[in-house]
């Protein structure tokens, strides 16, 4: 069966009953003892066979983190997190560094197959007319708890000059690039969770697109949390040299558990002159049950630097999972005429909480940014858009357009919009539009009268509401995201 059909079937089957990615893989794990201290950081560094400079970098971050306090300004609420009660390293036991797919533990391959993620190198879109779809292949890096278990299509990418590998490998194989860029967009002491990540990050993806190269296929990373009482601290670094292009996707799921698990990632993007990075996320961490028990705390720092003139960074996110989402993918528009975009759909249901948005920092002349945010709240959930647009004195003729729309389903949920606008340049222009609406009874009745079930009707209306964002997603993800939206809102009406 073509992979994409499998993926769709997987997603479709979910429409029947809740979260279907909640299974656990039984696999022998190499677990670090619980707790966080310098010895644990040294252990991680040894496990990753890191050079000395990397360990020093981690320890510096740890020292900074010790002096910091957990932030509480977001409109989210959770019991205190015991940072000493987590495992900071969890990896399936096996020979180090999968050299080829044949070496990957078959249990892991089955796990990813079950998740609908093809780790075999085949066309993801097999069965789709090749005339209408040019990019038929997607390279996948699969991260399981603390380690990358497989990266596909590496040979094909190497021929194009593209480096796509686990970041732990990049630290060893491409130290000059990692040292130059790691922490250059999100400094080690940027914020509490970023500092924690910098101290204990275990794996994630590294992407380097050399000058003038258009990446020949979509790159994607699939994150899976499996082990109990672990935190996942992934780190992703994408560098696009002058004139290069890359489109990158990430997806994430976790087993269904009563406990809350912490996921604190850092993603850094660097775009040089005329480079373009498109970063898409479909976030589907376990959201907790309908009573608000369990689920992932998704506390993530994502930031892109448009360092070069005319460079462009585009964030697209569909956030349906996690008990709590705290995430503001941002763009630092340093290069003249550089462009930042943020397209977001955030769905909260039951007792989920999301405080998400973006920051657009305009530094260079003629920089432009667009923010389209669609928040959907159902059940007892709370959904906040928090966005900052800052025009610095040098940002002559810079422009921003922001549109924030909120959709409420039922009357026990909340939607909040918190825009921060700071302009220190008189020629800069900032526009902000916001709407809040409810799914009208007559819209639901109209759909049901035509034969749609209530849930299908909600799915259809919600997808219509999110269309401006969904159309920014690469095609195969767009279809998946649409189905996911319907699933996330299951049981939200009636």
């Amino acid at each position: 069966m073509p992979a994409v059909t499998e993926t769709l079937d997987t997603v479709q089957s979910v429409t029947q009953s809740g979260y279907k990615w909640g299974f656990e893989t039984a696999i022998e794990m190499d677990l670090a003892p619980k707790g966080l201290n310098e010895d644990i950081i040294r252990l991680i560094s040894v496990r990753k066979q890191e050079p000395e400079w990397m360990l020093e970098w981690r320890l510096k971050a740890y020292a900074a983190w010790l002096k910091m306090e957990e932030p509480h300004w977001a409109r989210v609420d959770h019991p205190p997190i015991d940072y000493q009660d987590l495992h900071y390293y969890a990896a399936p036991k096996k020979k180090p560094g999968p050299k080829s797919l044949d070496e990957v533990d078959p249990e892991l391959l089955r796990t990813y197959e079950k998740l609908g993620i093809p780790l075999k190198e085949r066309a993801l879109l097999a069965g789709v007319d090749p005339d209408t779809v040019q990019q038929t292949q997607v390279a996948v890096d699969a991260v399981f708890d603390s380690v990358s278990v497989a990266t596909t299509f590496r040979e094909t990418l190497r021929k194009a000059g593209v480096i796509f590998c686990p970041i732990s490998e990049a630290v060893r194989e491409h130290p000059e690039l990692v040292q130059q860029y790691l922490g250059s967009v999100v400094p080690v002491a940027d914020n509490f969770f970023a500092a924690l990540n910098s101290a204990v990050f275990t794996d994630g993806s590294f992407v380097f697109i050399p000058k003038g190269v258009r990446c020949p296929m979509e790159l994607s990373t699939y994150f899976r949390i499996n082990a109990r009482s672990t935190g996942q601290f992934e780190r992703t670094l994408i560098i696009a040299e002058a004139g290069s292009h890359v489109s990158y996707l990430e997806g994430c799921t976790a087993p269904q558990r009563d406990e809350n698990q912490l996921h604190a990632a850092v993603v850094e993007l660097v775009a040089l002159d005329d480079a373009q990075i498109k970063y898409s996320t479909v976030q589907n961490w376990y959201p907790g049950d309908s009573e608000g028990k369990g689920g992932i705390y998704n506390f993530v720092t994502k930031r892109g630097a448009c360092r070069g003139a005319r460079s462009k960074i585009s964030w697209t996110q569909v956030e349906t999972g996690s008990a709590i989402t705290w995430k503001y993918p941002s763009c630092i528009l340093q290069g003249d005429d550089s462009v930042g975009e943020f397209y977001s759909v955030a769905v909260t249901n039951n007792y989920q909480q999301a405080d998400t948005g973006t920051k657009m920092i305009h530094i260079g002349k003629g920089t432009r940014s667009t923010i389209i945010s669609k928040g959907i709240s159902a059940g007892h959930s709370n959904n906040t858009y928090r966005g900052l647009v800052r025009m610095l004195p040098g940002a002559a003729h810079a422009r921003n357009f922001t549109q924030c729309d909120s959709l409420l389903i039922g009357d026990r949920c909340g939607a909040h919009t918190v825009p921060y606008i700071e302009s220190r340049n008189l020629t800069a222009k900032v526009e902000h539009e916001a709407t809040t609406s409810k799914i009208a009874e007559d819209q639901l009745f109209y759909c049901r009268q035509r034969g749609l079930s209530e849930e299908d009707a909600v799915g259809l209306i919600v997808n219509g509401f999110c269309k401006d964002v969904l159309k920014e997603l690469p095609m195969e993800f767009a279809v998946e995201a649409q189905k996911l939206l319907a699933v996330s809102l299951e049981g939200s009406v009636g």
């Binding site: 009874e441 819209q443 009745f445 049901r448 034969g451 209306i461 219509g464 509401f465």
Partner: protein
């Protein structure tokens, strides 16, 4: 056959329908006329299952099954279709996609195979053409930015594609010019046959010239005050409702 007996219904405690008795045999088209506020639209909503209305007495069976115990989508699956007086806008929802989703939901519930995008578009284009509708109507968002006439024609297009067994047209002719009126009437006439019946709610004799009903019923104050053949509509056009209502009261 649609069989309505002693049907009473109210909205927020206010009685609107006060005992309707009406039988529409298979293959027949019946017109419902009457002054504003007499309960015509309520009848359409109650038959199709709108939740705001509370049925306080009576029964409705359609081909032997109890309609009132069913969800709106189950009634749709049983073949009930309501052409809305004010069709609803669905922003961002493509008309063709909406219709295909609806048609496939109906087909699924009837144990038929679903249509793929290509098969559906072929069907939808043919029906659009037959109803002289511009093809871009399928590509636009459901009723968004449609003129009043376009909305009504979109309802008829949906009806043509979904092929109901019982169509309830709630003032589908209001606000239409003569040409559009003919298209609407043709749309209903094309479905006429032994398995199709319709309740046509209208204020105007004009529509009934093109869509000749088997029976005409006059609704006033929540009751049917008079029933007759097509000639009753002509009579009403001349003399109005006043005499009839006074007579019934």
């Amino acid at each position: 056959m649609l069989d309505i007996r002693g049907l009473a219904a109210s909205i927020v405690g206010k009685p609107i329908l006060k005992g309707i008795d009406l039988t529409v045999p298979e293959g027949e088209v019946h017109a419902i006329m009457g002054p504003n506020g007499s309960g015509k639209s309520t009848l359409g909503y109650v038959l199709s299952g709108r939740e705001d209305y509370e049925v306080t007495a009576g029964s409705v069976t359609f081909n032997g099954i109890d309609l009132l115990g069913m969800e709106p989508e189950q009634r749709a699956a049983a073949g009930v279709f309501l052409a809305f007086q004010a069709p609803i806008e669905l922003p961002g929802v493509n008309n063709a996609n909406f219709l295909r989703t609806a048609l496939n939901a109906l087909r699924r519930s009837r144990g038929q195979d679903e249509l793929d995008a290509v098969q559906f578009l072929k069907l939808a284009r043919a029906e659009s053409k037959r109803l002289a509708m511009p093809e871009d109507m399928l590509k636009r968002n459901v009723n968004v930015g449609f003129s009043g006439g376009e909305k009504k024609r979109n309802e008829v297009l949906q009806m043509a594609i979904l092929r109901p067994k019982l169509a309830i047209l709630d003032e589908t002719d209001s606000g239409l010019d003569i040409d559009a009126l003919r298209i609407v009437a043709d749309g209903v006439n094309a479905l006429r046959g032994p398995d199709f019946s319709a309740l046509v709610i209208t204020h105007h004799q004009r529509l009934l010239d093109h869509l000749v009903p088997n029976r005409v019923h006059v609704l006033a104050h929540g009751r049917i005050v008079r029933s007759g053949g097509p000639e009753l509509a002509k009579e009403l056009e001349k003399s109005g409702y006043a005499g009839l209502i006074a007579e019934a009261a």
